[in-house]
């Protein structure tokens, strides 16, 4: 028997029906709701390419049972900024050359937003530790760390101007 359940994704209520209730949130996002931004690679929480926010916590979508996330606020890469208007983190990744094949990028963008919300001026060590759950096989991470630092600097500068 299949249960029908509703997920709140990027501010919208999305009904999931005719689906096996053992599916992961990652699978439901991609295959049931057509949100292909979250990537699936390892499906065991090792790579971080499916990182999403559930009630403001950064988690691996592949390790969330979708049917258990009813009533929670789910934010995916599609919900991080309006289409065509990149977030400051997305723009910094482009500017720093932190995107190569791009497969890890959505997860890293989500992880970077979570990191900077928690710690606005992270040290390099902190950035490396906080992004340790997101695997990138192209960049060697240098430009990703650069991108994170650019956002931190620009946000501080913006805060100083407005204060």
């Amino acid at each position: 028997m299949n249960q029908i359940y509703t997920l709140r994704v990027n501010g919208d209520d999305r009904e999931v029906r005719d689906a096996w209730v053992g599916e992961s949130l990652l699978y439901v996002l991609r295959e049931r709701l057509g949100l292909m931004g979250s990537k699936g690679a390892c499906e065991q929480g090792e790579c971080g390419s499916c990182s999403v926010l559930v009630d403001d916590e950064l988690v691996c979508g592949c390790l969330v049972l979708a049917a258990s996330a009813t009533g929670q606020q789910i934010v995916t890469i599609e919900g991080i900024a309006p289409v065509g208007i990149p977030s400051d983190v997305q723009q910094a990744f482009v500017d720093a050359g932190a995107v190569q094949c791009g497969f890890c990028t959505p997860g890293l963008i989500m992880a970077t937003h979570a990191l900077l919300d928690r710690s606005p001026e992270p040290t390099e060590y902190e950035i490396r530790e906080e992004l340790s759950g997101n695997v990138c096989r192209c960049t060697g991470y240098g430009r990703i760390i650069d991108a994170v630092q650019r956002v931190s600097v620009s946000r501080r500068a913006a805060a100083e101007v407005t204060s």
Partner: protein, 288 residues
Amino acid sequence: MSVTVAYTLDDALESLAADPSAIVLAGGTDLMVALNSGHRRADAIVCVKRVSELRSWRHDPDAGTLRIGAAMTYSELMDDPLAGFAPALAQAARTVGSPQIRNAATIGGNIGTASPAGDGLPVLSALEAVVHVASTSGHRDVAFADFAIAPKRTVLQPGELITGVTIPVLSGFQGYSKVGVRNAMVIATASACLVVDPVGRSVRLALGSVGPLILRAPEAEAIASAAIDFEANTIGPAAIRAFGEAAGAAARPIDDHRSSAAYRRRAIEVLARRLITRACPSITGEPS
């Protein structure tokens, strides 16, 4: 297959009583891997990660204890205020997976999964924690040492749920160390937790990933308890060496895909020496 999301302890226990074959889902970091890969099938899942009673903690200053709800996450254990009460548990928490994993993974899940490599478990062993278990027929407490009976097997009966764990809040040194191939996202090749209780004048050393269960190292503990000057917080170099050797001798490691038994035993010796040196930073006597 059915999925039940429980919000209260009574809801969770009633769901488990109604279908004792139901699998408990907390953080999902173990169970979802098994479901995703098809290695495990489930007819019924009871999700307990939002049960309010399991999401709380309580410090009892009179008893000198900290009770941690089973659904508290490693991210929560890593930071104050809990880190201040249980520093070794906070250190162990920081070595768990990645931020994504720590935001999901729970202490109760770690206890219930009962892997010999569970990062929180050597700490609970060294602190001689008490595991709280409930079912619709009542509550019971199980000493941590008696909880796991084999790798990934526990004394938990059908219909029972881990509700929390109680540990003593101690004043002395406590530390957790782990060896793995990376600093992040790594299952322990070997791990150890040292707790020095200057009030009770005892030393406790627990070992992870070097046996079918979390092990204690009683001979090493006896060596350190006798050798430490609890007033000055010092220990001699010969005792440090003997402590490390006794810790290695207590390990019961195997060769597997992650490491060799010989390496694991050696790693335990080094981890034990390192931890006791951190506990007693001014070493007395001649350097070794």
